[in-house]
Every structure is written in C-alpha cells, then in structure tokens.
Amino acid sequence: MSIMKLLSIAARAKVVTRRYPFEPPVVTEGFRGKIEVDPKLCWGCGVCTRICPPNALTLKKREDGTLVLSYFMGRCIFCGMCAEVCPRGAITVTKEFELASLTAEDLVRNVKHDVVRCRICGRVIGPAVEMREATKSVGGAEAKYYDLCPECRKLVVARGIMTKVGVRP
C-alpha cells in the first residue's frame, strides 16, 4: 500500500539532483557571495574594517610606508555589512561563492594605499588619496597645512600668531 503511494510520489517528482558542477548551481538574485573592493574608489579610510563582524577586512600599515586594506575570504561571512557602510561605495557584493583553493594566500585580496607623512615630524597622517580628496574641498589656508599632523599643525599655527603679535616664540 504505502509502497505504491511512495512510488507514485517518486514518479511525479522525477530526478531533482542537479549535475553540478557540470550544470550551473541554483543561485537566486538575493544571494550574497564574496565582495570586491574597487581600488580606484577606495580611500583606505577603514570604516569597513570596523563594522566587519569576523575581522575579514583589516587595515595594515606596512614598513615601506604603505597602508593595505586586506580582504581575507577565508574569514568572510558574506554579510555585506562592509558594502553598506563604505562612504565611497567602493565595495560590491558579488554572487561568487566557488572560492575553494589550495592555499590561503589565494583567498587574500589587497588594496594598497600610499600614505601622507607629516612634513615636520614624519608621522603617518593618513592615506594619500583620502587626504588629497579631503583637502580639495577645504582649500585656502587649511590646504597649506594638509601635510602636517595635528600636533605640528598646532605648533605652526601658534608660532605664526605669536610672530604676528610680536612675541618671540
């Protein structure tokens, strides 16, 4: 009895197993896969690294003075939070999920950024693109100081004022 019923169910269902990987997988339009960072848009501000729940995105300072935004797919949980917070719209969430690889390095994508150092003390102030873009919109007197760190900037400004009022620094 029950065997007959089962056979009829099976006959109607037919074969449902897909011949993946020889057939494309079922991925819906809602699916979130790995992310891609557009190096042309990214400023290296690091906002995405602060929201990323598993720390798959990190901002590292290198010895050679460059700043690297590093994306490690091995940790990524494909939540897309980074894309939601990036002020530059530099991150796109793709539908790609076939990420298996034999080495961990294959799962890393780096975006390198030059940095601006303080003209006086040599400390790193921030990523070059971000600084350049930010000063564009400021202009005037501010732009003069863009390559100074906040401390040196204070000193320079104070010195300027004192000279003006005739006090020797």
Partner: protein
C-alpha cells in the same frame, strides 16, 4: 492558557509575587519592566522562594551566573522563572560574597535547575550547597581546577596548557557507548546506555565537546552590539535566526526601543520559514533513523525550495544576516511575496501527501508508538520545552504565552498530544509545519507599510550609545526545538554578561526517563526524537546513572544526520 490551567495551578499576578518575595522572604526589587521583575533575595531564602514559585505554576527557564566582583565584590546567580500562564518572568537573584562563594542548590526542589547549576559552578566557580551530585558539566576533566572561564580576570582567548589526563569520571559499570563523535546525529556527543539484556536501565551523557565560548566572546572587546547578532546567528546551524533575533530582542529591550512594525512582521515570517525547514529536516532524519531512507530523501526534496526561498529573501540559505538592532536589512517586496506564496503552496501540498504516507507506514508506526515515553509529570519537573513538552501534554509555547514580534496578528493552533511517545513528537512537528505555513500567509496578507529600520538605527550608526550599561533583559523565542532564552546584562558598549540557553539544553535531561525501560533498539530513535541540537547546547555536560548489571557490546554507530547543513 485555559489548557495550561487544566493541569497546573494558574500563576499569581506579578504584584502578588513581588509582595510575597519582598514581604515574606526579605527580598527587594532591583529592576522591573512590563513583563519582567528582578528580585534579589537573601541566599538562605532561595530554596523556599524556588519552592513557592515552582509550586505556583512557574517553569524554570534557566539560571545565569555572573561574576559581579568588579561591581560589588560578589558573585551572583540569577534564576529565571517563567510564569507561562501569566506571561511574565520573575528573575530571582542571590549574591555570594567573593570570599564565601556559595549559593544553596535548588535541584531537589526544581529538577530543571540541574544543568544550569553545574554550569554556574564550572564557568564562574560558585559552589552549590546541599547538592548531592556535583561534577563537571561543561569543562573537560583536564581543565585546571581553579580557572573559571567566565570570571572577568580570565581573558577571552585564554587557553590552558595541554595536560594529558585520564578522565577520572567514569560510570562504574560499562555499558553500550553511543558516540563519542557521531552517533545518531552527526555531532559530537556521547551517550552510554546501561542495559540488562536488551532493556536500557540507565543513561549516561557527556556533551559540550564543541563548547565555543561564544558568551565570553560576546563580552570581549572584539565585539560590539552591532556585531553580536552575526555571532549569535552562528550559535546554531539550523535555527540561527532564532538566536540572532533573541539576542537582538534582549538588546532592544535594554535600549527601550521597538523596531518598526514591518520589521517585526518580517522577522516573524523568517522565523516561521526557519521552523518549516527545521521540522522538515527533522522528519527526514527520523525516517532515516528508522531505516526508511526513501522517506528521508523525499522530505528533504520537499524542504529544498524553502532553503532557496530563504536565500532569496535574506541573502543566504542559512545564517541569514538579516537582523540588526532596530530592524531588518532587507524588505519583502511584491515579487518576493508572490514567490513565498508559491513556495508555500507547493510545500504544503507535497508535504501533506508525504506526511500522510510516513505516519501510515506500519513499520514506522510500530517503532514510534509507545516508545521513548516521557510522562507529563516528568516533563513538568524538568521544565522541558517545545515539541517535546507539547507531545507530553504540556501546553507551552512562547508564541502564545509571551507573545512577541507579530505573533498576536496571526491565529494559529498549538498542537498538543498527551501520549508522550516518539509518535506524538512526530505528529506535533508535522502539524506545526502546516500551522507555520498558515502563519506566514496571514502575516503576508497583513504586512504593514513603513520603514524596516528604526530611525535611530542603521548599519552605519553605532547602536552602542543607545544601550546604556547596567540594564537587564530576558528575551525568549519559540525556536523549532522549543523555547530559546537569552539573558543580557549590559556593560560599556557590549554585554557585561550574555547568557544563552538553547532549547536542547533543557530537553537532553529528559532523555533519561525516556530511554529507561525501553528496548535498546529504540534508543537511536528516542535520542533523535528530541531533535537535539548539540552545537547550540554546547555553547555552553554528564548525566550520571548507575544501576544494574551491564554487559558490553562493541562500539555501535548509528550514523544519521541532523543539525549541520
């Protein structure tokens, strides 16, 4: 609720309980909101308080130990009593000074306190006075004696030096080991069944092999309120959305904000979708345990469209990533609504046919009927939850007892059986699938307009400022396996203490009465019948049993899959 009172005394009103606790037991209220009241009582009164509450119809949800030494130089234990028939929680706090760290055990009065008391001893180092059986539950035997991981001075990434120690705790007789690493379900746990002939006389359980320290991690600087929902979602590979929603509900309570209605509807719809896929998964596994693999495969075939649908709505088949404090990240538009309706129609039709077939297969009926019986009084004493409770005649369902999100907007039945056997547990779940389908349809029909995120919240705004330190919150959700409870005590920018009690935690102790006296051949089905989910339970065990002569048979491996996707 009428059903409830048929068996249990109706719980008293909150005011009455507060009056009794403060006037007769010397307690004082430390915090309260609409559906929760926190009362601190002197520790010598705890047993009487517990007796009073349990006899007046309360269930014990769990207890949570907290290291409060940085705040007030003492340890605290919070017993969370749920007044199901009245829909509020009474949280009874007892404190113990740091140099005299003990609290009285209530396990003889409230058997459901067994595990959480032992967990408090392992994780925070509170001694339990008056308890006969004291053993390690969560920590492995070779863990150093004086290190209690949830004490504040222990770093979240602490690893003890590895020691080679022979396990000291062994049941005196040898029995039939099921396990250690993948017995009936593809997850690590260990059952030892003591048998006389073919009859199980006792059960010994050891779990927590996959304890991941998630609660501790949530308190560490590595996490913020914004990131915790994603962590909570990873507590379970089947009902992750339950955990993320429950953690968020606790945070939202602490922040005093309510997400927009539309977000509440969407969360409810996704929670019910999750129940459908979880129950279908389990029905398939049960068929497999019974050797009916055709049933297993067809159930999972019917389930697949639900997984695809979840991905469409949320972005992922599991670990949806949909929730944030204040709302949800994705809306359900017209197109998605239509797809949900279509999928539900198809699943309903196909599962109806399949479920009718499954429960009519004579071999299945014979194996499931009358086996693994849990009586109503045993179920009550252990405060079991979910389908296990409802198959034993206990009318408990968080969705009805403590209505949350949009559940009041849908009318649905709570299937109740009184037999308490494996068949009843199958039937409860089968019927619940159809109820869930109906709930989703009703909610889609009424889906209110408006935003899906609270105006004060978004992915970009750090919500940490909205959640002030020093607040308490208890949130509960009816997960597919039963009531899931999250207890939260807020700290600076992250939880001070976050306690998660998954449903299986409450249900595993019920396996002992279920398995005893039954033929050995039924044990795999009975173990599977509680739909255990060990990874949830193990975020944060041993049931000792000793009786009868036992004989030893070689390692037996049942090999079935549930829980992992």
């Amino acid at each position: 609720m009428g059903e409830q009172s048929k068996y249990l005394p109706e719980c008293p009103e909150m005011g009455e309980v507060v009056r009794k606790l403060t006037e007769e037991y010397g307690g004082h209220v430390i915090f309260s909101r609409e559906s929760e009241v926190y009362v601190e009582v002197p520790r010598h009164e705890l047993r009487d308080v517990a007796k009073y509450l349990y006899s007046s119809g309360a269930f014990l949800k769990t207890c949570a130990a907290v290291d409060e030494r940085p705040l007030n130089r003492s340890f605290a234990l919070y017993h969370i009593f749920g007044m199901d028939s009245k829909g509020y929680d009474v949280i009874v706090k007892v404190s113990a000074p740091e140099d005299d760290a003990w609290v009285p055990s209530i396990v003889d009065v409230v058997p459901a306190a067994d595990w959480c008391e032992l967990e408090a001893r392992d994780m925070v180092g509170i001694e339990l006075k008056g308890r006969r059986l004291v053993r390690r539950l969560v920590l492995p035997e070779d863990w150093p004696e004086d290190i209690h991981p949830l004490r504040k001075e222990v770093p979240h990434d602490f690893r003890p030096p590895s020691v080679k120690a022979e396990s000291e705790f062994r049941p005196p007789e040898r029995g039939i080991p099921i396990g250690p690493y993948h017995p009936v379900l593809h997850e690590p746990e260990y059952f030892e069944l003591l048998v006389e002939g073919e009859t199980v006389v006792d059960v010994y359980y050891r779990g927590f092999h996959v304890h991941r320290g998630i609660e501790k991690l949530g308190e560490s600087p590595r996490f913020t309120y914004q990131k915790i929902p994603f962590l909570a979602e990873r507590i379970c590979g089947i009902c992750g959305f339950v955990h993320s929603t429950c953690a968020i509900m606790a945070m939202e309570k602490a922040a005093g904000l309510r997400p927009p209605e539309r977000a509440e509807f969407i969360r409810t719809i996704v929670l019910e979708l999750e129940r459908i896929h979880s129950h279908l998964l389990w029905v398939g596994v049960a068929a497999h345990v019974l050797g009916y693999d055709a049933g297993f495969m067809h159930t999972w075939r019917v389930r697949e469209p639900v997984m695809i649908l979840s991905e469409l709505i949320t972005g992922s088949r599991k670990t949806y990533g949909l929730n944030l404090v204040g709302g949800v990240r994705r809306d359900i538009d017209k197109n998605k609504m239509e797809k949900i309706m279509k999928t539900l129609d198809r699943v309903e039709k196909e599962f109806k046919e399949l479920a009718n077939l499954l429960v009519s297969v004579p071999q299945i009926r014979r194996r499931a009927q009358g086996t693994g019986v849990l009586t109503r009084s045993e179920a009550r004493a252990l405060s079991v939850v979910g389908p296990v409770a409802r198959a034993s005649g206990l009318y408990r369902d968080v969705r009805k007892d403590y209505p949350y999100l949009a559940y009041e907007e849908a009318s649905f039945k709570v299937p109740l059986y009184t037999e308490g056997d494996n068949l009843a547990r199958v039937l409860v779940r089968v019927e619940e699938v159809f109820e869930s389908i109906s709930i989703i349809r009703q909610l889609l029909d009424k889906l209110p307009g408006g935003p899906i995120m609270h105006e004060k919240c978004s992915a970009i705004i750090p919500v940490d400022e909205l959640i002030p330190p020093g607040k308490y919150a208890v949130a509960a959700i009816e997960a597919p396996r039963g009531e899931d409870v999250h207890f939260l005590m807020t700290g600076e920018g992250r939880p001070y203490r976050w306690r998660v009690r998954a449903p299986t935690y409450q249900n595993i102790p019920a396996l002992r009465p279920m398995l005893r006296g039954d033929p050995l051949a039924d044990a795999p089905l009975t173990i599977a019948s509680i739909d255990p989910c060990f990874s949830c339970t193990d975020r944060a065990l041993v049931i000792d049993v000793r009786t009868g002569r036992a004989r030893t048979i070689k390692l037996w491996d049942g090999g079935v899959g549930t829980c992992r996707l």
